[in-house]
Amino acid sequence: MSRSPSLGAIANVKNPQRKQRRSFNQISAKLAPYGFLTPFIVLFFVFSVFGFVFSLYLSFHQWNPVAGMASMRFVGFENYTFSLGEPDFYKSLYNTIWLGLASGLSQHLVAIPMAYLLVSLGSKFRHFMTSAFFLPFITSTVAVSLIFVNMYSANVGIINKAIVALVNLPVINWFMDWVNAFMPLRWLEDRTLIKPAIAILQFWKFVGFHLVIYISGILTLSKEVEEAAILDGANWRQRFWHVALPHLRPFIFFGVTLTIIGSLQMFEEPFIITNGTGGIGNSGLTISMFLYKVAWEWLDMGWASAMSWLLFLIIAAVTAVQFFVFGKKGLGEH
C-alpha cells in the first residue's frame, strides 16, 4: 500500500527549521540503541576482549608481573613448546579428563532416567525432589568443598564412619567384613582415592542442574505422543527408550556441551579439597589449577597464558568433536 506525503512532510519542506529538527531526531533515533549498548560494549571490551587479547599477547612473552611491565620480553613460541614438554601439564590434563568423564558421565546417566521418573511420579513429588537436587548447585562451592573436606576426613569424617557402620550391620557383615581391613579410607591422602573424592563432590553439586534441564525437556514432550505410545502398548521402559530419550537429544547435547566446558575448567573444588597443592603426587591437580599455580605462585605469566590457550584449543577441539558426533540431530534439526 502506497502512502501519500503527509501534511507534516509538506510543512517540513516549507519550514527548514522544522526539517533540521526532524533530521536531528532521525540521527538521534539511529544512535540511541548504540548509546544504550555503550555501557555493555565498554565493559565487554575492558573485561573480556582486553583480557582475551592480552593473554594471547602474554603467551608469546616472558613476564614476571612483580618486575613490572617493562620486564616483558618477546620469546615467540617458547612458552608453548615449554608447556608441551612439561610433565605436570600432561598429568593435570589427564586428571582433568578423568574427572570430567567420571563426574560428567555419571551426572547425565543419573539425571536422564531420574528426570523421566520424577515426571512420571507427578508434579508435587517432582517439585520437591527437583528443589532438593538443585539446592547443591546454588550453594557456595567454597563452603560445600570445605564441608566435604571434613566429611572425607579419615578418622573423624562422616563418610568413613558411615561405611564402617554399614559394613558392620548384622547381615551385611557376613559378606562385607573384608572392607574393615581397608578402613580408614584416606580419601584426601591416597593417590587413588583423591580423584574419586573430587568426582563425587562434582556429581553431587551438578546432577541437580542437569536434572532440571532434562525435566524441562521431558515436559515439552506432547501428551498426544505419550498417549499414542501407551495405546500402541509401549511399557514404561519402552516409552523411555523410544519416545522420551530421542526427544531429549537436543537437551542432552546442550547439557553435555556445558559439562565438557565446565569440566575442562574445573578449579574451585579440587583446589579446596587438595588445599591448593594438587594432592599426593599431583593426582588431584587439574589444568586450571596448574596454570593458576604457574601464574600466581611461580609468577610466570607467559607460561600460564600459553597453557590457558592450549586449554582453549583443547576445549574447542572436544566441543567440535561433540558437534560432529551429535551432528544436526543434536541441535534438534532433522
Partner: protein
C-alpha cells in the same frame, strides 16, 4: 563581635589548610596483623599529625595476589605493604620495592632487630627492602601426658633425631602417634639445618642443592617415621589435626611461637597446662613464618610510609602490643627486656617459654631468601616429599627428579 567572627573564620581556614596538608597513606595487610595499626593509630597520629593512615585488609592469599597485580601494572599498591616471609624471596628481588638502604639508610637499624630477620629483608644486592614486623622462633610443642607423665625428659628426646624416633617407638607401643604427619620431620630438618652461605633450597650461585645430604637426611627420617608407624597420617590444618591438638591424640608439633597463642585463643583453649615447649631436636634453630613491611616503588608517599613502618616495627610499646594481643613474636631486640618475657605461661604449664623463644630468635642463623623459593618449595614439599612418605619412593630418585624440575621451572629467574 566582628573580631570573634574573624577569629572563627581564620581558625576554620587554618584547620582546613592543615587537613589538606596531611598526607594520606594506605597500609595493606591481612588479619590480624592489621589490628595494631587500627587499635593504636592515635599514638601514631600524636607523633605524626601530618600523616593520615588508611588500612586495607584482605585475606592472606588475596592480599599477595592483589599486591602482585598492583606491582605488575605499576599502580594500586598500598604505600606500605605486609609481605609473608614465604613470599619475600620471589617478590622483593624483582625490583618493585623501594631500596630502604639508599632512601632512608635503613642499614643503621640493623642492630635493633634479631640478625636472621633483618637479613631476610635484604635483597640479593645486599640492600634492605623490607623490615621485619614479626618472626616465629621454632620450637617443639609437646603434650605433657605423653612426655613427663610417662617418665620421658624433653631434653633427652630432643638430643638428636634418633632419640626422637626412639621416643616415638615407645609412644607407639602405647598407641600414641609421635607427630601428625611424618613430613613435618623432613620440613623441620630442611628449614633449620641450612648450611652456612646457602639458602634453604639454593647455594650462593642460585643452583639448587636439593640432592644434598640435608635433604637426603630429612626425607630419610620422614620415611622412617612413616614406616615405623609413628605418625597419624594427617597434615597440619586438617580437621584431624585440630581434633588431635584438642584431644592430645598425638605427642608433638613443630611450629613457631605464634602457635601457643593460637592454641590458647581458638584452637584448643581447654588444653591449658597440658602443653610444654622445647627447642628443636639436635640443637638446631629455625623460624616458622614471619611478616615483613615494604614500600612499593610506585608509592608517592615513601617518607610517610617509612615513618609508619618504623613505628610498627621499632616502637617498643607498639611491638609489645602486637605480641600481647596477636601472639606475633617480636623481631625487635628492645622488647626482649619487657617484664612479660620473664612471666611463667600458665597455658604452657608454667614454663617461661618467652625466654626460650627469645634465645632461639637470637640464635637462628641468617638464611637469605631466594627468588625461586616458591618453585622449589612446591616441588620438594608438595611433590617429592609425599612421594617418598606416602608411596615409599626411593629418596635419592625423588630428590634427583625434583632437582630436574626445579632447574626447568626456574628458567626465567
Amino acid at each position: 563581635m566582628e573580631l570573634k567572627k574573624l577569629s572563627l573564620a581564620l581558625l576554620l581556614v587554618g584547620t582546613t589548610a592543615a587537613a589538606q596538608a596531611a598526607t594520606t597513606i594506605r597500609y595493606d595487610c591481612w588479619p590480624n596483623h592489621d589490628k595494631t595499626a587500627v587499635d593504636k593509630i592515635d599514638d601514631f597520629y600524636a607523633a605524626n599529625p601530618d600523616i593520615k593512615v588508611e588500612v586495607l585488609s584482605n585475606n592472606w592469599v588475596d592480599h599477595h595476589n592483589k599486591l602482585t597485580t598492583a606491582l605488575a601494572t605499576g599502580d594500586g599498591a598500598g604505600d606500605l605493604v605486609c609481605i609473608d616471609v614465604e613470599k619475600i624471596g620471589a617478590i622483593v628481588n624483582q625490583g618493585g620495592f623501594t631500596d630502604l638502604t639508599s632512601a632512608f639508610g635503613a642499614d643503621k637499624d640493623a642492630e635493633k632487630f634479631v640478625d636472621f630477620a633483618f637479613a631476610q629483608g635484604k635483597g640479593t644486592d645486599g640492600n634492605v627492602y623490607a623490615l621485619p614486623l614479626n618472626i616465629g622462633p621454632g620450637v617443639m610443642y609437646y603434650r605433657r601426658e605423653h612426655m613427663q607423665d610417662l617418665g620421658f625428659k624433653p631434653e633427652e628426646v630432643t638430643k638428636d633425631w634418633d632419640a626422637l624416633i626412639d621416643w616415638g617407638v615407645e609412644l607407639k607401643k602405647k598407641g600414641v602417634p609421635l607427630v601428625g604427619h611424618a613430613g613435618s620431620i623432613a620440613q623441620t630438618i630442611i628449614n633449620t639445618e641450612v648450611e652456612e652461605g646457602n639458602s634453604i633450597y639454593f647455594d650462593a650461585d642460585d643452583k639448587p642443592i636439593v640432592t644434598s645430604e640435608r635433604f637426603v637426611k630429612a626425607f630419610t627420617y620422614a620415611q622412617k617415621a612413616r614406616e615405623l608407624g609413628l605418625d597419624g597420617r594427617f597434615g597440619d590444618w586438617s580437621s584431624e589435626w585440630f581434633e588431635g591438638l584438642k584431644q592430645g591424640s598425638f605427642a608433638i608439633q613443630f611450629s613457631g611461637a605464634w602457635l601457643a597463642g593460637f592454641l590458647e585463643s581458638w584452637i584448643a583453649p581447654d588444653t591449658a597446662g597440658k602443653w610444654g615447649v622445647e627447642g628443636l631436636p639436635a640443637g638446631f634453630y629455625g623460624s616458622w613464618g614471619g611478616t615483613f613491611l615494604a614500600i612499593p616503588a610506585q608509592s608517592e608517599n615513601k617518607e610517610a610510609a617509612y615513618k609508619l613502618a618504623q613505628w610498627l616495627t621499632q616502637d617498643r610499646d607498639i611491638v609489645l602490643y602486637e605480641f600481647d594481643t596477636n601472639a606475633a613474636f617480636p623481631a625487635l631486640r628492645a622488647t626482649f627486656d619487657a617484664p612479660m618475657f620473664d612471666e611463667e605461661m600458665a597455658f604452657l604449664g608454667g614454663q617461661q617459654a618467652r625466654l626460650l623463644w627469645k634465645d632461639i630468635a637470637e640464635n637462628i642463623p641468617s638464611v637469605k631468601p631466594s627468588k625461586a623459593d616458591n618453585i622449589a618449595r612446591a616441588i620438594i614439599l608438595e611433590q617429592a616429599l609425599p612421594s617418598v612418605v606416602e608411596e615409599g619412593k626411593d629418596v635419592k630418585v625423588a630428590l634427583a627428579e625434583a632437582e630436574k624440575l626445579i632447574v626447568r621451572r626456574m628458567r626465567n629467574l
